[in-house]
Amino acid sequence: MGSRVSTGPELKKALDDLGKELVVDLDKVLGKLSLDGYREVIRRTPVRTGFLKSRWALTTGQVPNSTIKNPGGSYSEQQPNVKIKWGDVVGLYNNAEYAEFIENGTPEMRAQPMIQPTFQYLLGLSTRLLDALSRERKT
């Protein structure tokens, strides 16, 4: 972006090129935030059978509004399989019936928060990523 523009069409092309570069950067930022968020929430999920951990999913589509009970057995986490691009609304959800009790605690059980710390983590990370991008663009 160091070249000079002297005509209207050149300016338009320069702005279009910058826009495309920014979208590529923002695609990367959103992709990183989504996957890091997924990893962080998995890392923070307590395990007994692994069911709760196995119910985390990333989506750019509809988040299911029903929950399911733990049918017993043992489980392993799923790898996210979703292509994310700038402008997508990314959902991170868990439809295990008891996820809310683990997150918020109950009178008999301490909370083991998964979502709230992940949210705070992503807030901090997004600020640092955007600062780094901004510094990169200035140099």
Partner: protein, 128 residues
């Protein structure tokens, strides 16, 4: 370093709170039926460099307020307001408490619960 920050949070609450019993993390606590109580937990989130020789750790204090079901919300709201004010006014070296927010959890086994989340940043020199 975590030890100092957690100790500071503990002292803040112990020195300013006598409204209800406190259920501290990893300490046996049996609530008395009909008596409101609070539960305190500290969640650590992230750590990163904050300039030469300095580290910043982020986290939040989660205070859960339990009042008996059917007692209404006014007393609980008063407790939440008091705790929020305590953390908004306190100054501790290296610690910065940010505006808190309240989350309604709801009724469960005779108790009505709301959580207060107080984010903080703790900055310290690595050599300390």
């Amino acid at each position: 370093m975590i030890e100092e920050a957690e100790k500071a949070i503990e002292i803040i609450i112990q020195s300013s709170w006598n409204d209800t019993p406190v259920d501290w993390d990893n300490v046996t606590f049996v609530p008395t039926k009909g008596n409101s109580y609070i539960r305190v937990q500290i969640e650590w989130i992230d750590a990163f460099g904050a300039g030469p020789g300095r580290t910043r750790e982020t986290g939040y204090v989660m205070v859960s307020f339990f009042v008996p079901v059917s007692d209404g919300t006014r007393f609980q709201a008063k407790l939440i307001g008091k705790m929020s004010k305590i953390f908004s006014q306190v100054r501790v070296s290296g610690m910065q408490f940010k505006p808190s927010r309240v989350q309604r959890v709801g009724e469960n086994r005779g108790w009505f619960q709301r959580n207060l989340l107080i984010p903080f940043e703790y900055t310290y020199c690595k050599e300390n």
